[in-house]
């Protein structure tokens, strides 16, 4: 689906016409990411991050597949096979550091992509399905990255696997059997490592599939934009190609420069030195921390240090951590304000930035050992996180008086005076 004024695909070369009759793949591409897809003319650079996330996935798949040619998923040799990849395999170090830092770059762009959605209200009707599929992708990414981190079979790999599968043992009665089923044993070992490798190879392709659904769902209403006002006519849009292929291309260049600086000059900056110690089931590292992109959730997990309402602290922690993500599924129905963009929501705008700050504080608490001030700070930040969605958003969307919206995207671009007062577009 698209707007009626979208450019039509008209192949000129006989070969392309023949192709179009037999398998209209070029037509699909033209209509999806070519000149046949009309896009609001006013998108800013925050709209680059979807394409960048796609690029990051492609980089992970390519570097991952080549690394799998040198990797051995066996607890006895996994650690050495990674060292072999880095030291002996031609350009192996490049593949390995591209993959490990690529995961971080992937999460950076995805977090920016998610917060873009929160700021501009992209999760609201008619794009709820786009948002829901996005949360599914986020969950799949977290599972993929967790299992990938186990593969080098260092100390953090092993103890990360122990702690994360330990979440499941918090479930009453069936928890311990579920954990043994997941691990294929009583503690992480060969069986677990092998299945994690199998799934780590599989899930990125599942992610690719869900991304196709995500884009399909997006192309039904078309992209939103910084004003949050819907497209009203041909003057509000430009064709995706060449306008946004160029803009995204520039963003991709910036992304690759930052990625290269990280990968070539500080390849281990985001990793943990303990993961260069081979896994030892008899000795836990002094301080277990996950990768940086899990810190906020790790802080929420640890926020419950006491039993509460008959539910043990351990189960609360696990419920809160999964709840923090599950909440995002309900966001389109929690925020009732008809205005999408925070530009025109004077109260929401402030709470948005407080939430951003709160997530940074949670991340900091997740990184620090659970001692002293970090415990209390983590608990307060976790409470605020839930309060933002469950208390603040419903109240704000009920009492806030939005600023006047522009008449149209074009009116806003040309700086014309708004004619309506706070009416939804």
């Amino acid at each position: 689906m698209s707007f009626p004024w979208a450019n039509h695909y008209a192949p000129k070369h006989p070969l392309m016409r023949w192709m179009d009759e037999k398998l209209p793949l070029p037509r699909l591409v033209y209509n999806a990411v070519g000149a046949g897809y009309p896009v609001p003319r006013n998108l800013n650079y925050m709209w680059n991050f979807g394409v960048l996330a796609g690029a990051a996935l492609v980089i992970q798949i390519i570097t991952g597949v080549v690394m799998a040619m040198h990797y051995a998923a066996n607890a006895g040799v996994a650690f050495d096979s990674i060292e072999h990849t880095v030291r002996d395999v031609n350009a192996g170090w490049a593949m390995r550091y591209a993959h490990a830092n690529g995961a971080s770059m992937f999460f950076i762009v995805v977090y920016l992509h998610i917060f873009r959605g929160l700021y501009y209200g992209s999760y609201k009707a008619p794009r709820e399905m786009v948002w829901l599929l996005g949360v599914v992708i986020f969950l799949l990414m977290m599972a993929t990255a967790f299992m990938g981190y186990v593969l080098p079979w260092g100390q953090m790999s092993f103890w990360g696997a122990q702690v994360i599968t330990g979440f499941f043992s918090a479930i009453p009665v069936v928890g311990e059997p579920i954990r043994e089923w997941l691990l294929g044993g009583f503690a992480p070992d060969n069986a677990a490592l092998n299945r994690f490798f199998s799934l780590h190879y599989l899930l990125p392709f599942v992610i690719a599939g869900v991304i196709i659904l995500h884009i399909w769902a997006l192309h039904i209403p078309g992209s939103s934009n910084p004003t949050g006002v819907e497209v009203k006519g041909p003057q509000d849009t430009v064709p995706f190609h060449p306008y946004y292929t160029a803009k995204d291309g520039f963003g991709l260049g910036v992304f690759l420069v930052i990625f290269s600086i990280l990968m070539f000059f500080a390849p281990n900056a985001l990793g943990h030195p303990d993961n260069y110690i081979p896994a030892n089931p008899l000795s836990t590292p002094a301080h277990i921390v996950p990768e940086w992109y899990f810190w906020p959730f790790y802080a929420i997990l640890r926020a419950f240090t006491f039993n509460f309402l008959w539910i043990p602290a351990k189960l609360w922690g696990v419920l809160a951590m999964f709840g923090a993500i599950a909440l995002l599924f309900f966001l389109p129905w929690i925020d009732r304000s008809p205005v999408r963009s925070a530009r025109y929501r004077p109260m929401y705008k402030w709470f948005f930035w407080v939430l951003v700050l709160d997530v940074f504080v949670l991340g900091l608490c997740g990184m620090k050992p659970p001692e002293g001030v970090w415990v209390l700070l983590g608990q307060l930040a976790a409470i605020y996180y839930f309060a933002h969605f469950l208390i603040i958003l419903p109240i704000v969307s009920a009492i806030e008086r939005p600023l006047p919206l522009p008449m149209s995207i074009t009116a806003s671009v040309l700086g014309e005076e708004p004619a309506t007062t706070g009416q939804p577009a």
Binding site: Q162, G166, W181, L183, G184, L282, T284, A286, P370
Partner: protein, 186 residues
């Protein structure tokens, strides 16, 4: 085909068609078949025979002096074998059960006549780290038993949970004494 069905369904009270039976029978049959296929696919993930086969070990405990402990591996999990001193036993017995999160006496956690041998898994019941306290000079925490550095769970001299996020006492694996110096775990 359609004409045949129509003739069959005409007339009062003939709502149930023969075709419905075939549909239900076919779908149920395929459903049972699908479950039969999925079960082994799910079950293959459970611990395999060789993992289960390592289920029992024998350990020589003759070299463990009172106050000392050793770590060994059973089912790929650490096990602590500790020779308690009379003072540690007295400390454990002095705690009223009402003060415990997971109430158990030392006697319930050891073998009669061998109360000094405390055998537990070295797996914190919170999220599974190996607590400190079995190795020489390791931090035994505020209750003199074991201390888990991951999230600060403290266990007493009977390896019972006293403080921190862990919900249960360190688990006592099934064990029996083959002789005064050999214990079988599992």
């Amino acid at each position: 085909m359609t004409t045949l069905e129509q003739t069959e369904t005409t007339g009062e009270g003939h709502d149930v068609r023969r075709r419905d039976f075939i549909n239900i029978a076919a779908v149920s049959f395929a459903g049972v078949g699908a479950v039969a296929v999925v079960l082994p696919l799910v079950n293959q993930m459970n611990p395999s025979a060789d993992v289960l086969a390592l289920a029992s070990i024998e350990v020589d405990i003759s070299k463990i002096a009172p106050g000392q402990a050793i770590k060994t591996l059973w089912r790929k999990q650490p096990v602590f074998i500790r020779n308690l001193t009379p003072k540690e036993i007295a400390e454990a017995n002095a705690v009223p059960l009402s003060e415990l999160r997971d109430p158990q006496t030392l006697a319930e956690r050891t073998t009669a006549g061998k109360e000094n041998w405390l055998i537990t898994l070295g797996v914190c019941t919170h999220l599974g780290c190996v607590p400190l306290g079995a190795g020489e000079g390791e931090n035994r925490g505020p209750f003199g038993g074991y201390f888990c550095p991951c999230h600060g769970s403290a266990y007493d001299t009977a390896a019972r949970i006293r403080k921190g996020p862990a919900p249960k006492n360190l688990q006592v694996p099934e064990h029996s004494f083959k002789s005064d110096t050999v214990v079988q775990i599992g």
